[in-house]
Symmetry: C2
Subunit: 732 residues, 2 copies
Amino acid sequence: MKGRVTIPTDESFAEGTKKIAALWGADAVRDCDGTKLPANAGEIAGKVYETYFVTRGDVAWAKAHPEELQHFFLMSERKTAQAETLALFPAEGCFSEQVKPDYSADALRYWQVIDRTTGREHTAWQADEVKGCVVIRNAVPWHEYTVSFLAHNVWDSTQMYNYITNGWNTEKHSPYDPRYPLTARHIRDVLEGWLKTHPDVTVVRFTTFLYHFFLVFNEEGKEKIVDWFGYNASVSPRALDDFAKEYGYALTAEDFVDEGYYNSPHRVPRQRFRDYMDFIMRYVADTVKELISLVHAYGKEAMMFLGDSWIGTEPYGKYFADIGLDAVVGSVGGGVTVRMLSDMGGVKYVEGRMLPYFFPDTFFAGNEHNAVAELNKNWMTARRAMMRAPLERIGFGGYLSLAAAFPEFVKRAGEVCEEFRRIYVGVKGKQPFCAVKVAVLNCWGKLRSWQCFMTAHELWYQQAYSYQGILEALSGLPAEVSFIDFDDVKAGALDGFDAVLNAGDAYTAWSGGEMWLDEEVQEKVRAFVARGGGFVGVGEPTACAKQGRFFQLADVLGVDEEKGLSLNTDKYNIAAEEGHFIFEDTPAPDFGEDKKNVYALKGAKVLKIAFSDRFTRSVNVGEVKAAANNYGNGRSFYITGLPYSFANARLLYRALLWVSGKEDFVRKNFSTNVAVDCHYYAASGEYALVNNTFEEQKTTFYGAAGAAREVTLSPMQIMWLRADGSEEACGN
Amino acid sequence: MKGRVTIPTDESFAEGTKKIAALWGADAVRDCDGTKLPANAGEIAGKVYETYFVTRGDVAWAKAHPEELQHFFLMSERKTAQAETLALFPAEGCFSEQVKPDYSADALRYWQVIDRTTGREHTAWQADEVKGCVVIRNAVPWHEYTVSFLAHNVWDSTQMYNYITNGWNTEKHSPYDPRYPLTARHIRDVLEGWLKTHPDVTVVRFTTFLYHFFLVFNEEGKEKIVDWFGYNASVSPRALDDFAKEYGYALTAEDFVDEGYYNSPHRVPRQRFRDYMDFIMRYVADTVKELISLVHAYGKEAMMFLGDSWIGTEPYGKYFADIGLDAVVGSVGGGVTVRMLSDMGGVKYVEGRMLPYFFPDTFFAGNEHNAVAELNKNWMTARRAMMRAPLERIGFGGYLSLAAAFPEFVKRAGEVCEEFRRIYVGVKGKQPFCAVKVAVLNCWGKLRSWQCFMTAHELWYQQAYSYQGILEALSGLPAEVSFIDFDDVKAGALDGFDAVLNAGDAYTAWSGGEMWLDEEVQEKVRAFVARGGGFVGVGEPTACAKQGRFFQLADVLGVDEEKGLSLNTDKYNIAAEEGHFIFEDTPAPDFGEDKKNVYALKGAKVLKIAFSDRFTRSVNVGEVKAAANNYGNGRSFYITGLPYSFANARLLYRALLWVSGKEDFVRKNFSTNVAVDCHYYAASGEYALVNNTFEEQKTTFYGAAGAAREVTLSPMQIMWLRADGSEEACGN
């Protein structure tokens, strides 16, 4: 098999690239940020990608049109007034090479001083550009004040990151804003000129579209704020004016600064911010669509890098499918990022950029073993999700010459490419066996499919990993996964599902916060479960304190959380039930950073419990870690945390089966060993048994008919078995 | 030395009592609930206490006047409507021998049905006494409903508890309510008759006054709700009518039921509940004052048991000093309960009832060693607080004959009595050295002095021990401790203190919840610290989410808590500062159930930090466990939890010194060994070094002048040293 693989190349490594392309079956080459394609790239592979920057890279343009540079809103540090006058220094604490407050009259209209002690806007102030400060008059002593200000983002955040992190020293790119008329025409003209002069390129790889996600550095040149979903760098006085005209109301700085939370994806989104997102998504879609038409006019494909300047083109957004993109490429960390890519619609193909990146930080002498290990780890976690929904292509980035110097790596990467192609053939278009249909319910719904609990792409956060693990588990489970929001619930969406899952910390967009106070939401979810639906809650599901409940659907869940206010009511969490269906394969789960102080209501079954090792009351009352509940004809399962592990993935699978009343599905297309996944593709009559470890694994495999068979898999092996009993030898 | 000790006696043990009285130097005898005084009690001791029940015990009266029995408000279980009609059974889940819903027309006026999904009152319902239910019409399907109802408390909660727990089988006492006219006269007449017929009694020990704290049992006869501060059992239709007349507005069931929280002391109190408390305190004070006048008219003293039916006579309440009580007796568990008793004003003397209680559960054959151990443990924790503020008397309860059978116990109890008298002589009226004046700030202030974080008297709660430890520590520290509320702060109370302490879980009365949104409170506290005051915060101090802060005074504290909403802002908690003054004696403190996700603001010093053992970002960001901050001329110290231990008590002492800028006080009147307390009484020129352990302890002792001296203390020893260098050998 050949194809479906993209490799990097550069002008100094054309011949080497040909060899690797042959070894790996690569049919596409690409350049990277920092490298140049060889002149004869088209001879190396059928597809040639070249990176393209829409709104940065033209340093001369940026210098000539400083008034058309991009903006963001920032909040100054909080300062306490000690007298009636107080000076705030907007850019204090920010990286001066990136952040340049915009003191123009046009921008100043949108600056805003707020008394953070009261939350009221304070109007008595003046900006002094020379001193770089805002002077507040009539301040109330001992109140905190901030100024929210528009600043020019004079250094593209990704270039800045690479410059600082990887020691680059190219000219600094200042991103310019096509919202302004000169730049609007300029980006179109430049693209057309570029298309004319790049006949060999078959795929324009838009490494940036218009606006970067929100990424600001601090005065030490370190990351200060990072928000992969942040729309803040798409703002400008002109955008604000346009918005006000269209929507009939004006946004203020506070709509962006949001008390300093900057509309983090963890915030329950407010309507004004949603309006702005829609406004930007439409604008970006319109603008990009025009650019893509140009690309098509020159007979090339347009590919978006889902990574840096992707704001406004979220692939699950309403306007995404209309813009005419041919492809999306995104980096792949694990199963979640695979599914984020492979589940999107609206493009012809999706490519995953695998790890490791061919950079000197990995590919240095003596480190080949680690490079191979990183490849294996990345591949093994990613392919778990591909067994459910494969990408159309995979690829690599960086300097190919570095990787080519490591023969073991070259060999192993070739095997990975081959295995990927086999998976593609085995899985693509062949609906894998699916035991349950589950809806993940949060404030963002479909728009943030597979992106729940993320702050920055793939970064680990202590506060999120216990929830993010749910998605990593789901990415490879025999479950059909949809993402819905509270409006969907009100519109009756639950009818189409076996189970609904709600997870996250209280008052975040993921658990839903105040959305749970909507009576209609409560009615619909209760009715769904009572009619026989399933509910899975993790952490602080349905949490929003009101009327004596912290978990609004405590009656459904069978548990609530003690926030100290109801200590006067006795809890009787004494013992846990042994041997429940859900924990049969995984008696000792990992609760991660689990929630404390959860207690069971009367009637609920406590499945896991923890006891304080401190002195306790005469009856040792425990904390509930997992519980099951019956509600009408339906069922609910609660657990305090669910970080990703093989055992927890299995636990979640069994929980989904149990709440859906589908316990009898458990011994179908099933592997008893939690480290081995089993998938069944009815369309081809094939089973795939996947060893997700670097060790040999034995398992009992149950087919669709439920018959058992002992199987041994070599390390990392995918064993393809046919329903007729024949077996394809396929290993690592 | 003789006196200051009360022992129990009963009619079958008069002679034995005399012997013990002589051995222990007891000058008072008492009966107990369940025993009778000997006929000649006055010959045994100068003081004779007899228990007296004001509102229970007269079974015939209760039976004859069922309409004058006491009430409480209860909330039914929450039920979800599945159709437009829903039946609620008020008493479901309650102990039927205690709870009897009052279906009289007079009571039904105050019943209330609430749609808990919306929080709105629902008026379409009817009560059916025969079926014991309330039928709701026009219910909204899938909404939860409750009915709040008035019930007669037909079995006194304490008697019920003893009946069930200790197997009593006396006639059941139903408490009657003096708010009703017949009972009002009856309790006065009965007391007068009793006083006439009990000439030997010198002290009327009011084991109950009018209303019991809120204690309800469930359908299995187990504790359902317990609230030592609950005013709920003082309510009646008549009280509610009287209240409405006086205050011009009517209370509703919801003012008592409070979403099911029943105005737990952990709730931030609402004004309507405060009004009711004041209303009851005045009524109880007026009523009790009249009874006490009668007692005095018969030449006897009146003593209140601070334990069961004490509602309305909180010793730190506004009207307490006016009622004319001579004495209060309360049970002593540790230092906190000692100080709760010894710090109160308004009475001539206060007595502590020590443990163990002379009951068969401790005093059975073969258990003498444990009985002595319990005595020693109780005494050693209690005396630590007495070194700061001694009680006037101590005493015991139960069956003296049981204790008398254990010679080792008799001997040791005699020593304890003797040591108590020595402490009294050494400490009473001799202001001990005090390094700092600290105000404990919460919603209850002075009213709940030494009662913070309590739910039920002295009971351990996992959710509270990390805070309750602060008070146990303070009870024996060289600090002057006051309790203030937010109104006090606004009135300028902080001016009189070196430091203010705020502790507790977010949104509880102890940390203060929404009180922190009051601008004036923020201004006053910030100004206090900026002028040089100290702030100590534990757990979630000043917490109430608003305007981007979870801790409203994060600027003062130097820390805030990540609630998941600001993950997009980088935290740089990398390392902790070593060797700070505060932790010099206690490098490894106990954080108890400490709060997670606390991070330091720029400028704060991280003193203790914890790192997740999970995979983390390239820079391993930690959670702050303790931090110090400078704010203007003042200082702040934060710690995530502070359960009681010798080490944590020392830590708190050093923290108070540090935030107050009094580090140079640390080597004055000081013992380096954290297990040994040092007190200095300038009035007598005496030091007391107290070994708080059962082992020998060595310590370096610094006197008032700062000179060091090595000292060895035997187990439990109190060493009295004179400033002139002489030493009193005193120990066990």
